[in-house]
Assembly symmetry: C2
Homo-oligomer: 351 residues x 2
Amino acid sequence: MSAPVTISIDAMGGDHAPDMVVEGVRLAHVRLPHVRYLLFGDTRRIEPLLERYPELKGICQIRHTEESVSMEDKPSQVLRTGRRTSMWLAVDAVVKGEAAGVVSAGNTGALMAVSKFVLRMLPGIDRPAIAGLFPTERGETVMLDLGANVECGANNLVQFAVMGEVFARAVLGLEKPTIGILNVGAEELKGNDAVRGAANILRESQLPIRFHGFVEGNDICAGTVDVVVTDGFTGNIALKTAEGTVKFFSGFLRHAFGSSLLAKLGYLLARRALNKVKLRTDPRRYNGAMFLGLNGIAVKSHGGTDAFGFANAVGVAVDLVAHGYNDRIRRELEHLKPQEAAAAQRVAGNG
Amino acid sequence: MSAPVTISIDAMGGDHAPDMVVEGVRLAHVRLPHVRYLLFGDTRRIEPLLERYPELKGICQIRHTEESVSMEDKPSQVLRTGRRTSMWLAVDAVVKGEAAGVVSAGNTGALMAVSKFVLRMLPGIDRPAIAGLFPTERGETVMLDLGANVECGANNLVQFAVMGEVFARAVLGLEKPTIGILNVGAEELKGNDAVRGAANILRESQLPIRFHGFVEGNDICAGTVDVVVTDGFTGNIALKTAEGTVKFFSGFLRHAFGSSLLAKLGYLLARRALNKVKLRTDPRRYNGAMFLGLNGIAVKSHGGTDAFGFANAVGVAVDLVAHGYNDRIRRELEHLKPQEAAAAQRVAGNG
């Protein structure tokens, strides 16, 4: 039996909220019976949904608010006037200690801004990163940043490496995860100043990190390393390119299986095996981007996801809580800070 | 009947050269009987290969040289000491008017450096770009830059947009191709200075270009626009991420089809339809990255490709020659230059 955990939910965030959110909580409940929920949003809309599922009555508590953040709202505007939105209040519940983590399928930029403002950064981290899991030939790889920071310096990338490394150990359970920096080639001289600088720091430093060196785009799915470090611009584009490629390939395959009677029959025979592929590459399984580097657990669900995907995002938040990710990274950062600074100093001195 | 065209070939470039190269020329000959070849490299190695194919005797001419560029050679070093390499001499044949274009499967950085030095840039273009074709849900999309320029400013991206637009009209035969700039979101405020600046220039300018705005990673394979413009860092990573994703997905599918007797039978029945998918997404079909912006046609084949892929790269060079790409872009640039400058001025004035 796991100890009870409470997760706060922005019930009004996402394209199909609040229906999809409540349905997602119901699915999450099946897998995670020890989790309790605070649902922030419009009681008049949430209550009728809860009525349908008596099993949720005892584990969900609605916190009413009239306001919510829309997908079009600018982060700066939400920071100024959004203190009564379901998103803000859900994040705030983590600071108040009412919840161990927050999940929202709402506006990414606003969630990041509110989370930074309300939760604040972990000491030693300059900028938070969005991390996500990718299915690979060897298992799973964590990649960060997926879009929080469009421009990153060498030091940001080094901090992402540390956060990703601790994540791979704490949550994925890997003993000595390997780290790679995404680049246009594996050679030391390739790339821009940020990736070369970060690689120098990781190579020169005494950090207890297994730094593999540079990796390329095709190494992400190959699972060459356990943690892929990149800036938010490139990471976001790589993530969406991979998603788009899977969608293109699957669509093409579906079309092929429908193109003749023989192909249809072949599909029927191979269906069980093909469903495994579908399940393995289902983007909903990998839904739930983690905001790492904050003083609290915050997970962003894809805005367009369905209940199955939202339930996975809840699972990601519960995982981070259960593995004490934030406590572990806080401890690591305290030890690493002087070493990292010394390494950066040395590299700067050599350059 | 097409008029005869001569292509110069770096016969010593590529992982499996010269065998793969000569075999590739043979495959290209079947499809393009009007093309003649100058093969630069070691006669002692090339001649025995040509002996096997009597049909190549009359259309291939060997130009002997002892030297070649290796995959490890640095571009700067090749520029200093590589004038007698098969790569350099093959590029030089274009300047001398002996060949209409050059194809090499050798070291990309060296080929780009030598091509820039020997062929020089088109007037009005500051930096060349590597362009490639992607299969999409709607047909084909051209993307550039795929790795020539790790860092790009707004003006570079605007020039890439112009080069890509002319390519889509001249070679793909599209009447009014649409252009998108790769970014982390479709909204005007997203992204870094370079993409926002380039979008402003394209929006404000009087250029006869159908500028769609920003596109995201998933739009590449969706075929949302005909031309995707990006810097060489992001473009290279997006290309390799897409290739890696297709490889991962295909491997997974292959494994699924072998996982049970039923699945194997299903595969046999659907094989004909599945082969179409394989053919459509075969990276060898999309082999042949074009160096645009140079005063001559240069095409880079993937170093690890086989003869089928190399033949496609030859086909790409012949296409560029046949459609007079360089003459057309030269004409366009002459007209566009003053307009582009005026647009840039206006945007700078507004900023």
